[in-house]
Every structure is written in structure tokens, then in C-alpha cells.
């Protein structure tokens, strides 16, 4: 489904702020795989997702999605195939527009925008059904401005928006990190439900190691722009959070900077 070949990304090349964020990433994700991505701050996780989504151009390597080489496609063209949820709830929704307008924009992901009605009556019905599944009562507030919702409500809406037009691949970048623990659990549970329902191929960045191990079927660990660990199958089943911490120390081989408290995730 998704193949990354020797991806390199350098920020500010040649400048004093030069930063090599990705150093030869090779990754093959099969259709239906749900891959969790962990790694310390600055490891390059967000950069990786941004490279897949086309926010950044690569400085080397290829991005191949479903057999198509999309390396040189601009972001808005790739978007037809990619659903995204960002870490910041404010980033994934348009605050001044209503819930139904946000959903209608999302439903047309990848389609050309013409002088047709922005929302149809049939779509409103669909939105109501989908919103009802969130269990937040948003189905009765279709014409409420999104800016009036709480962070958790906005993020739940963002998850729905990313998936309402079924994407080939779903990219989640710590999408529950800005929420309080209870809301985070709700949004996570909702995300898993939607992924399962549509059998979405997913890449999910998380800082919660326990979550990384029990969500999905594969876990990769990044460090300083490289993938240093790739777990799946029985090996992953046997792995514990403590193992992950140890593997991280071994594989990275340098000073352990990762905040244990942060990583323990329980």
C-alpha cells in the first residue's frame, strides 16, 4: 500500500540551522496495516507523516502509495488519498464554520470544488448518522460553529472528517496528546472503531508506549531520523513497555534522553 524508499529530509540545507530530520527511511506498509510510531521528541515522526502527506518535499527517496509514485505531487493532490488528524484540535477544523460545513468540506476531499451547493440535504442526513456514532450529541448541533466546541469534541470531529471520505491511508499525529486523559481515551476508542470499520491502513504517532503496543498490528520506533525498531507478529505480542524502553536504549546506543515517566504511559 505505502512504500517509502530511502527517504531523506533536510531542513535549511547548507544554513547554520541545517537539520537532517530523516536519514534514509525505508518502510513498507501493507493494506490494512495499523502501524504505531514511537520515538523521542525530535526523532522525525511528524516530519515523516508530513513527507507522506506532501507538506514537505523530500531531499531524496521515493514515496509510493498504492502503486503510484506520489513523490512529486503537491499536498492538495495527494490529499485525495490521505486522511489526516493533527495533534492540535484547532489545526484540523475551521473554527468559524459550522459542524456541517466542516464535514461537507471533508466529504469533498480530493474532489474539485465547483459552484454547486456546498451541502445537500442527503449529506445532512449522513452527517447526523455519523455524528451520532460519536456519542457526543453533536448530531443535534449541525449548525453550531466549531469554534464553540471543546477540544475533545473538535478532535472527535476531526477524526470523523479525516475518514468520512474513505482515505487510502490515515495519518494520525499524536491526535489525542492535547486532550485530557478521559477525552483522549474516548477519542482513541472512536478512532479504533472507525479504523476497524473501514479497515483503514493507518500510521499513528503516539507517545504512549502501552497504547503503541496494544493498538494496531505493528510498531516502529524512530530515533534521530532513522527507524531503529520494527515490531510485528508474535514478537510484538511478547514485547512489554519495559522491553521497549530497554530496546530503545540498546538500539539508539547513546545517552538515554527519553523521559521515562513520559514513556511509561500507564
Amino acid at each position: 500500500m505505502l512504500r517509502l524508499e530511502n527517504i531523506h529530509k533536510i531542513f535549511h540545507p547548507g544554513g547554520i540551522n541545517e537539520k537532517v530530520a530523516l536519514k534514509g527511511i525505508n518502510l513498507f506498509v501493507r493494506a490494512g496495516d495499523v502501524v504505531t510510531i514511537i520515538g523521542s521528541n525530535g526523532a522525525g515522526k511528524s516530519t515523516l507523516l508530513n513527507v507522506i502527506a506532501g507538506v514537505y518535499r523530500v531531499d531524496g527517496g521515493k514515496v509510493i502509495l498504492d502503486g503510484e509514485d506520489i513523490t512529486h505531487w503537491p499536498e492538495h493532490i495527494r490529499a485525495a488519498r490521505i486522511g489526516r488528524v493533527f495533534q492540535d484540535p484547532l489545526q484540523g477544523t475551521a473554527a468559524s464554520m459550522t459542524i456541517e460545513e466542516n464535514l461537507a468540506l471533508a466529504l469533498r476531499r480530493g474532489r474539485s470544488r465547483r459552484l454547486r451547493p456546498g451541502i445537500t440535504q442527503a449529506e445532512r442526513q449522513l452527517f447526523k448518522e455519523r455524528l451520532a456514532l460519536l456519542g457526543l450529541g453533536l448530531e443535534n448541533r449541525l449548525s453550531t460553529r466549531v469554534g464553540l466546541l471543546s477540544g475533545g469534541q473538535r478532535q472527535a470531529l476531526a477524526v470523523l472528517m479525516a475518514t468520512i471520505a474513505t482515505p487510502k491511508i490515515l495519518l494520525l499525529d499524536e491526535h489525542t496528546a492535547a486532550l485530557d486523559p478521559r477525552t483522549a481515551a474516548t477519542v482513541m476508542e472512536l478512532t479504533e472503531r472507525i479504523i476497524a470499520r473501514h479497515r483503514l491502513t493507518t500510521l499513528m504517532v503516539t507517545h504512549n508506549l502501552a497504547q503503541a503496543l496494544h493498538t494496531g498490528n505493528r510498531t516502529i520506533m524512530m530515533h534521530e531520523g532513522r527507524i531503529i525498531l520494527d515490531l510485528c507478529g508474535p514478537e510484538r505480542e511478547r514485547t512489554t513497555v519495559a522491553d521497549l524502553l530497554r530496546m530503545f536504549e540498546q538500539a539508539s546506543g547513546d545517552a538515554f534522553t527519553y523521559d521515562r515517566a513520559l514513556l511509561s504511559g500507564s
Binding site: I82, D88, Q91, A94, R109, P117, G118, A177
Partner: protein
């Protein structure tokens, strides 16, 4: 104030209202601080005067003016999205270029339409409507424009333009080319401003190369007044607010002129209105104008989210 003065400011408020709608579209909907406006307003007037003097129907003149206004907006959009010039500068560049272009179109600094047929002389000749003819015409035009705009902003395209002004990152991730949306938004905004310039030139009976100076600030003042009075809770209200703001603004201007303020001080007066409005943090926050504010303030406003990663729990 006499009836004719009230009638006058009502008429003017409606005619300049098209310009305020243009400013509303670029500044508020698209969140783009477009300074092209000053040049486009004169452009609309200049083209209209030129066409009418060439013998074309005033309606044809109006249509040409609107199209050229849209084109001017596209030039600004291209400078920004194509050549990556900063938003403010791209508007200024087009505005300054338009000054020369307007002079070329007019051939002189001032063109009189006093003995020419305009859309207003025609309605003025209908005895039955006396003295409401111009007002009714202005009202018809404005109702039409507001109606079309209201419909447009709810189409797929219109909603994408709004989303571009609200959250560029989001709408790009939903597959919209934000450069194109800015082009559309700036074209429509400037088409409206040129429409206003055309209407005003026909109403006043002349086009002057300096008539657009300070238009942006007048437009902003009207938008601020309108949103304070009418609010912006819904799309329709926001559009109505722009028109109401324009009418109130013209009435205030009419009033202070009556009270003896020299006409030459008007721009100072208008600037002060805007400065005072922007000086109130609450007003500033409520009224938006993100593009006019400092970056940090936007963060302060949105509050909760911090990039304080280490303190994060999950």
C-alpha cells in the same frame, strides 16, 4: 439634518457598501490584508468614465469595470501565490501600478460625466419615483450583490474560500489548492470594489484619480461599525453588517461635515475611528482581523493549546 442629507448618506452608504463587501471578503473571509482596494476603486471609476465618454451604455461600462477589478485582484493573488511576495506588499505593488494605469485610462486626473447618461440619470428621469429613484436603484444593486454573495459563499467553491481564510493547513489537507482559493477570493473582493467605484463615479458624475485613496480604511471602519452593531453570528448577518456599517459610516461622515469639519480632515477622522476600535483588545478580539494583529495575540486568544510537550500526559 434635512431629508435630502439623510437620503444622500443612505444612497452613498449603499453604493460604497459594495466596496465594504469587497473589503469584508478579502480581510474577513479570506483573512488577507489586501491593499489593492485603493487602486481598484479608482480603476472601477476610471474605466466607467472612460467607457461612458466613448459612448457605451453605462451598464456596459459597469460590467467592464467589474471585470477589470476582478483582474486587478488576480494580479495581487498571482504576486502572492505565484511569486511568493508577502500579502501586504503584493497589494501595495498592484495598488501603485494601478495609479499609473488609472491615469492612462482617464488621460487626465479628472473626468466629468455631467452631461452624460449614467444609470442614475436614467432613473432620475422617472418622475413617478422622484426623489427615490437613485436610492431604489442603489438598493436593488446592493440586494442583488448581497444575495449573490450569500449564495456563493455557501457553494462548494465559496465554502473552500472561507475555509482557506479560516484554516489554510486544514483545507489543504482536504485537497483544496489554497492558491486558487486566494485567487478567487481576491478577484471577487476587488470586483466588488470596482463595482462600487463604478457606481460612485456615476452617482457623483465624475471620476478622479485620487478618489480611491483611503478606501481600505473607510472599508475597515464600516466593517468594524457594522459588526459591532449587527454582529457576525451567521454568514447572512455578516453580510448585512457590512452594508449597515457602510450606511452608518456615511451618515457619521455626513454629520461631522454638517457640524463643520473640513472635508480634508475626513481621512484623519476615519483613521482615528479604526485606531480607536483596534485599541480595545476586546473589540479587536471579537471583531477578528487576524491579519491585522500580531502573531502572538492569535495564540493568546486560542488559549488552551501549548507546545509544551514534556509536560504532556497521555
Amino acid at each position: 439634518m434635512s431629508l435630502s442629507i439623510w437620503l444622500g448618506s443612505l444612497e452613498q452608504g449603499l453604493l460604497w457598501g459594495a466596496m465594504v463587501l469587497g473589503v469584508y471578503i478579502t480581510f474577513r473571509v479570506l483573512d488577507y490584508p489586501d491593499l489593492t482596494v485603493d487602486g481598484t476603486f479608482t480603476l472601477g471609476a476610471a474605466i466607467t468614465a472612460h467607457c461612458i465618454l466613448l459612448g457605451y451604455s453605462p451598464w456596459v461600462a459597469l460590467l467592464v469595470a467589474v471585470l477589470c477589478g476582478g483582474l486587478a485582484g488576480m494580479v495581487t493573488a498571482f504576486l502572492h501565490t505565484g511569486l511568493r511576495v508577502a500579502p501586504l506588499l503584493s497589494g501595495i505593488l498592484t495598488m501603485i501600478a494601478l495609479y499609473s494605469i488609472n491615469l492612462r485610462i482617464m488621460g487626465q486626473a479628472n473626468l466629468s460625466l455631467l452631461r452624460e447618461q449614467t444609470i442614475f440619470t436614467r432613473v432620475g428621469e422617472i418622475a413617478l419615483l422622484e426623489p427615490w429613484g437613485p436610492l431604489l436603484l442603489a438598493l436593488t444593486v446592493v440586494v442583488l450583490v448581497v444575495g449573490l454573495l450569500y449564495l456563493f459563499l455557501q457553494t462548494e467553491l465559496g465554502m473552500s474560500v472561507r475555509a482557506t481564510g479560516d484554516n489554510e493547513q486544514m483545507i489543504r489537507s482536504l485537497g483544496v489548492n489554497t492558491g486558487t482559493m486566494k485567487l478567487v477570493g481576491l478577484a471577487i473582493g476587488n470586483a466588488l470594489v470596482a463595482l462600487s467605484g463604478s457606481l460612485v463615479a456615476q452617482y457623483q458624475g465624475f471620476a478622479d484619480v485620487g478618489m480611491g485613496i483611503g478606501m481600505i480604511i473607510a472599508g475597515l471602519a464600516a466593517v468594524i461599525i457594522g459588526e459591532a452593531l449587527v454582529g457576525n453570528q451567521t454568514l447572512f448577518r455578516s453580510l448585512l453588517a457590512a452594508i449597515a456599517g457602510s450606511i452608518v459610516y456615511r451618515a457619521v461622515i455626513g454629520l461631522v461635515l454638517q457640524l463643520g469639519m473640513p472635508a480634508t480632515d475626513l481621512k484623519l477622522f476615519t483613521s482615528l475611528i479604526v485606531v480607536i476600535a483596534l485599541a480595545f483588545p476586546l473589540v479587536r478580539q471579537r471583531l477578528g482581523f487576524r491579519s491585522l494583529r500580531l502573531r502572538g495575540e492569535g495564540v493568546a486568544e486560542t488559549g488552551k493549546y501549548t507546545q509544551d510537550l514534556p509536560s504532556r500526559r497521555d
